[in-house]
Amino acid sequence: MEGIFSAVAASKGSAWVRTLKELCSSPLTMSGLIIVGILIFTALFAPVLAPYDPQQIDTYHILEPPSHRHILGTDGLGRDCFSRLIFGARISLLVGFVAVGIATVVGTVLGAIAGYYGRWVDGLIMRFVDIMLCFPTIFLIMAVIAFLEPSIWNIMIVIGLTGWMGVARLVRAEFLSLKKRDFVLAARIAGASDLQIVFSEILPNAIAPILVSATLGVGGAILTESALSFLGIGVQPPTPSWGNMLTEGKDNLEIAWWLSVFPGLAILVTVLGYNLLGEGLRDFLDPRKKRRN
């Protein structure tokens, strides 16, 4: 009797807990989750975690190799690399979330319109997607950035506005297949408006793939930002970002290896974390894929 009760309680237990449990059953997804968790924690508590002020210049201790005082060494201005790395997490996280947020909203809206209305609207939007896909993203971003102040907000907006095409294609495909389903027909017969059907009938069913693509997109956005900052057209010094820290690494490559190694490692681990999480989510949300792969 008790067994039945606990079983009922378990099945009633929040879907979130079950989701989390199943996600954690894969070691790869689990490590992705942990990495992303640590990153968010680091970004939130950066001022507490950092042993030094990331902007504090110390001309007596420039380009010091890692030691017990500065565990990742110091840069050309004597700033503590570990502290700068910790504050750099804020930039990466912010850029990742905001840029992907913009790309996801734009992609979802355009994809939904194309998939739902079909015909010439679909043709027009998808042609636009094809054209946008012809531009190597980094060239397009650079062309736009050249006209703007290279502030972090501009960078995020531009990365977002040049990265929505994949989402649009995905959402369109989902809408094309979902709009023919019976429950959509039922809603239409019940007198639902187009807007109601799109937002409360179709979109909730398309959330899973959008979520997966957004998670995978965060890694890409972080990579793009770091490349732009590395090239000197992204986040500008003295604000520490992993990309612009590597620029300094490049300039001191022959005398200070630690400046080149650690920021890159931070980018690698962060992007890896999001990608692992994204792949895990995909397998979890799409059982078909799990079986096939």
Partner: protein, 332 residues
């Protein structure tokens, strides 16, 4: 006959896309606060309002936007992209033209490297699914996917260039003694300079393609005709490479086409790191100098290159898949 028709249809389909590319490029150019020429004018202390007006007229900036677009498009068709804002005032197309070969060379070499390595890798991983080999390549693929290419470039420079001192880390040929080399030595010198750039530009593609090859192979290996081939008693090697791989490669051609913009985009990064005088470096210096004509010219040219790359991929697809060129398969 079917193939010619297919080709014509594809070529016609390129026209609206090409127009779209030019429209977006033009739009980006006019996104500028102020005007493309205002920067140039602002730096000149002798600039009077009348002179400014004359300059505007000279550049056609006093005309309505659609007239400007039509003019620019007409120039573009004749490969007249205007003149650079930089002191040399050279024609934009001349600047791009002399830098295209090296960028294309590196991209072609890295594409060859990608295909040459990732296909056998992916096939092996698929054939021995879940083996140690499969798992190791999967991990490597994940890491390569997440590693910033410019950081890998720095590490390789640090290791091969500085630590071991066996590979040059910048330029495309030696600066000293290059003139005295024999042709063979020159080729060797080029090769030594290109090893790192080609490898760095290939990393992302290597990861992506071995992954795609693997999943495409897994898909094909489940098909009935593979079982049939095995049941006929064909050797496994023939089954894998003749029957399975051929079909598995089909979807990869499309992905190849789609990956071209990423590959060309990477040029900006590795060309600036390795000091290679290609289109990517030109783009970077144009952004730094706000040299708008060069910027726009570059943007259009790389987009058109991508378009041509996609066309080549389509032709390749049609050439190997009779269903496409005879139009038996539906458009979807």
């Amino acid at each position: 006959m079917g193939f010619v028709l297919f080709l014509l249809k594809r070529l016609l389909g390129l026209v609206p896309t090409f127009l779209g590319i030019t429209l977006i490029s033009f739009f980006v150019m006019h996104l500028a606060p102020g005007e493309p020429m205002s920067l140039q004018a602002d730096f000149n202390p002798k600039m009077t309002p009348e002179m400014r007006q004359r300059l505007r007229a000279q550049y056609g900036l006093d005309k309505p936007l659609y007239v400007q677009y039509a003019r620019w498009l007409k120039g573009l068709v004749h490969l007249d992209l205007g003149r650079s804002f930089s002191p040399d005032r050279r024609k934009v197309w001349d600047k791009i033209k002399e830098r295209l070969p090296i960028t294309i060379l590196i991209n072609v070499l890295s594409m060859a490297l990608i295909l040459g390595v990732s296909i056998p890798l992916g096939v092996r991983a698929a054939v021995r699914q879940n083996s140690l080999f499969d798992q190791v390549t999967t991990v490597l693929v994940f890491v390569a996917y997440a590693a910033p290419a410019f950081w890998v470039a720095l590490l390789l420079m640090l290791f091969f260039g500085i630590e071991l001192n066996i590979l040059p880390v910048s330029g495309i040929h030696s600066l000293m003694g290059y003139e005295q080399m024999t042709t063979f030595q020159k080729i060797l010198d080029w090769a030594r300079h290109l090893v790192l750039p080609v490898f760095v530009s290939a990393i992302g593609g290597l990861a992506g393609f071995s992954r795609y090859t693997r999943s495409s192979m897994l898909e094909v290996l489940r098909q009935d005709y593979i079982t049939t081939a095995r049941a006929k008693g064909l050797p496994e090697r023939v089954v894998i490479y003749r029957h399975a791989l051929r079909n598995a490669l089909l979807p990869l051609i499309t992905i190849l086409g789609l990956s071209i913009p990423g590959l060309i985009g990477g040029s900006v990064i590795f060309e600036s790191i390795f000091a290679i005088p290609g289109v990517g470096q030109l783009m970077w210096s144009a952004v730094m100098a706000r040299d708008y004509p060069v910027l726009m010219g570059n943007l259009v040219i790389v987009a058109v290159l991508t378009l041509l790359g996609n066309l080549l991929a389509d032709i390749g697809y049609a050439a190997v898949d009779p269903r496409i060129r005879t139009g038996l398969q539906s458009e979807e």
